[in-house]
């Protein structure tokens, strides 16, 4: 095996931590790597607890787990600026936590409590945090693709150096709104990174049933948009791809398409008997679990020790237990405030009452 004497890449173990850090790809520092590991672990523990709470009927509505795909959100968001805009689909816990949203507020949101990040009005699929430029989970497949293009248009128009990261699934690429969003983004050279999480399924539909091409990045060619594919089970691979994409966008060269090859270990939502895939396939993908894989990397490169990693896991577990306690103890929203946050200019309650009365007793038809 050839060895580069300068970086000692495949030779003997590097000796000092500093020497190792210099070899990290994509200009990453050891601290950034530890941070990414921490984020992935947080997401994993958060979701394990969310699933448990769901089984206890503490979480209403739908719950879509991101378990197995953590490297995508974490790698991508770490590669962006802190104030770059983020949008994603309903499988959104990972984006929120990777962006640093408050863990307790996220958990309370799942529980539908007033202390939730959207005051309990959004639930699992609609986490959002405007001050962190996280513009939400979106439940309608593909709906946030043109919204992301629109935000990028705003950035271009306002001459702000920010880019938009827009996450969606393989299934979303079959939707017409995907086409309209990418067409406009390409045409107007908008600074948006389209990040397609290709996890091989759209609910119970296999890739072959939903898409004529198995590589989603091919779809970018229909818009002459540059595209890369990355290993969505490897946080470094995702980081590198999105770093390149974001740089491209920020330098005014237009949109970029990133396909992350990934896999969800759990069902589509909590109500999924998973009849469409066999256990052996899941088992093989679980071997690529991004968290232990990156943990091994950190240990091998002497960025963290096994003990340090174990401690990260313990702390995350304690943090999530505390988040669940917090959510459980939090008050429910006051039903009389149900319309809060629906309208930019709230409706006058008296006028609303009048309209309701009219609807119940329509005026006699003109004759």
């Amino acid at each position: 095996m050839p060895t580069n004497p300068k970086t000692n890449r495949t030779g003997s173990r590097p000796t000092s931590r500093r020497a190792v850090a210099r070899q990290l790809p994509h200009g990453l520092t050891a601290q950034q790597c530890r941070e990414m590991y921490h984020k992935m672990v947080q997401i994993r523990h958060f979701e394990d607890h969310a699933a448990e709470a769901y089984a206890q009927a503490k979480v209403g509505g739908f719950l879509h787990l991101y378990i197995g795909e953590e490297a995508v959100a974490v790698g991508a968001i770490a590669a962006a600026r802190e104030d770059d805009h983020i949008l994603g689909h309903y499988r959104d816990h990972g984006y929120a936590l990777a962006r640093g949203c408050d863990v307790q507020a996220c958990m309370a949101e799942l529980f539908g409590r007033e202390t939730g990040i959207c005051h309990g009005r959004g639930g699992s699929m609609h986490l959002a945090d405007a001050k962190r430029h996280f513009w939400g989970g979106h439940a309608i497949v593909g709906s946030h693709i043109p919204i992301g293009a629109g935000m990028a248009y705003a950035m271009q128009y306002l001459e702000e150096p920010l880019v938009v990261l827009d996450f969606f699934g393989d299934g979303a690429t079959g939707n017409g709104i995907f086409h309209e969003g990418l067409n406009m983004a390409a045409l107007w050279n908008l600074p948006v990174v389209f990040i397609c999480e290709n996890n091989l399924y759209g609910m119970g539909a296999t890739l072959a049933e939903e898409s004529p091409v198995s590589d989603m990045m091919i779809k970018a060619e229909g818009y002459t948009m540059p595209a890369v594919q990355c290993d969505g089970m490897d946080v470094l691979s995702v980081y590198g791809a999105v770093q390149q994409a974001a740089e491209h966008c920020r330098s005014g060269k237009g949109p970029f398409f990133v396909e992350a090859l990934t896999y969800r270990f759990r069902g589509h939502s909590m109500a999924d008997p998973e009849l469409y895939r066999d256990k052996e396939e899941v088992r093989r993908w679980r071997e690529l679990d991004p968290i232990p894989r990156f943990g091994d990397f950190l240990v091998q490169h002497r960025i963290s020790s096994q003990q340090e990693l174990a401690q990260v896991n313990e702390e995350a577990e304690a943090e999530m237990l505390e988040a669940v306690r917090f959510a459980d103890a939090s008050p429910w929203p006051d039903p009389s405030t149900a319309a809060r946050g629906v309208y930019a200019n709230p409706i006058d309650p008296e006028a609303a009452q009048e309209a309701l009365t009219l609807a119940a007793d329509p005026a006699p038809a003109a004759s």
Binding site: G174, N175, G176, E210, V213, E221, G222, M225
Partner: protein
């Protein structure tokens, strides 16, 4: 947004846009003559006749619109080759899904020309028998006919039939999501469908450069893993070959094809449009020489397939046919109000019942 170069440039005839498009008439003279002489007996004249009839219909319709006999009308002057070639390259059992721009294609399958004319007159007598002519009603909402065609083609495949479906569209029609969903689904289910996109470079006043970043619309096929072919839209023989090949692919179980017929919209978008407000008339004049009827006729005479006199006779009889059709329109009775929603619903909802239309009454709550 990009500046559109006006008089000459890459998207003028012979420019970069047309480079590499399939063309029979654009070949060197000897090759062109050879190709025409090798066509099946009588095909060239049948194509010419079909184009001449479409042309005569279109010109008559514009006159009728100016006279107030019909309402708004979308002329297709210059697109006759694409339309005639499509109908003739397909089997009469194959399905056509036209837009407003191909409003008269059913007349090439025996539908009386009065039908589409009455449609523009707002008379329900203009409804032709969709099943008889295997031609769907025209779609005005852009791109909505693509998914319809996929449905018909997929159905044909599921039933084990050998029919294909062809949907017409324009450059502008490739932007709405329906186009994408149709291509995606057709490719997934291997539907025998042909997407025939006529790139006339304009969607009303929007030039194609402001429509999409892709310069060759056929390249959009890559995203669906299907073939995308480019053909000269003013060349009836090349269009015929392209559609015939796509139909053969469909029948062989190989799925959809995207055809981009490249050209220029020689006329206005519609009878209420004034193109000189948004494009240089000089530019249309550059393309005028590509006009498909005269171009095909000249090549046929040159190849010794026919004479100028014979072609003139074909055109004259087409003009006479359309004149006669136009004269019939005013004698057709004005429809009753109750007929307004006929053929819209399978069973008429109460809001459109004759009683309600005459004297509207709304059910009261409770």
């Amino acid at each position: 947004m990009s500046e559109i170069e006006l008089v000459s440039g890459p998207d003028a005839p012979g420019g970069e846009l047309m480079a590499g498009v399939a063309s029979v008439l654009g070949a060197p003279a000897a090759e062109r003559r050879r190709s025409l002489r090798q066509l099946p007996q009588g095909l060239a004249l049948r194509l010419y006749t079909a184009m001449a009839r479409l042309r005569a219909f279109d010109e008559r319709a514009v006159i009728l619109q100016r006279q107030g006999t019909i309402g708004t009308y979308p002329p297709y002057y210059g697109e006759e080759a694409v339309q005639a070639a499509s109908v003739l390259a397909l089997d009469d059992r194959d399905w056509l899904f036209p837009t407003y721009r191909q409003n008269a294609v059913a007349t090439l399958r025996g539908c009386p020309p009065e039908s589409p004319l009455l449609l523009w007159r707002g008379n329900p007598a203009g409804w032709y028998d969709v099943h008889r002519y295997r031609t769907a009603p025209i779609c005005v909402p852009v791109a909505t006919n693509y998914p319809h065609a996929v449905g018909a083609a997929w159905g044909s495949r599921l039933r084990g039939e050998s029919t294909v479906a062809l949907a017409f569209g324009g450059d502008g029609s490739t932007s709405p999501g329906d186009f994408h969903e149709a291509c995606n689904l057709a490719a997934v289910v291997v539907a025998p469908v042909i997407f025939l996109v006529t790139n006339n470079q304009w969607a009303i006043s929007t030039p194609v450069q402001q429509q999409t970043k892709v310069t060759r619309l056929a390249d959009k096929a890559t995203a669906y893993g299907i073939p995308g072919v480019r053909v000269d839209s003013f060349d009836v023989f090349a269009c015929y070959e392209a559609v015939a090949a796509a139909a053969a692919r469909g029948r062989a179980g190989l799925g959809p094809t995207l055809i981009e017929a490249v050209g220029y919209r020689l006329g206005p978008h519609g009878t209420a449009d004034e193109p000189s407000l948004y494009r240089d008339p000089e530019r249309a004049r550059l393309w005028a020489g590509m006009e498909p009827l005269g171009r095909a006729g000249a090549a046929m005479v040159d190849a010794g397939l026919t004479t100028l006199e014979a072609l003139e006779e074909i055109r004259e009889s087409a003009v006479a046919e359309m004149l006669l059709a136009g004269d019939q329109l005013e004698a057709v009775p004005v429809p009753e109000l109750e007929e307004i929603a006929d053929r819209v619903h399978l069973s008429t909802p109460w809001t459109l019942s004759p009683d309600h239309l005459r004297e509207p009454s709304y059910p009261r709550a409770g």
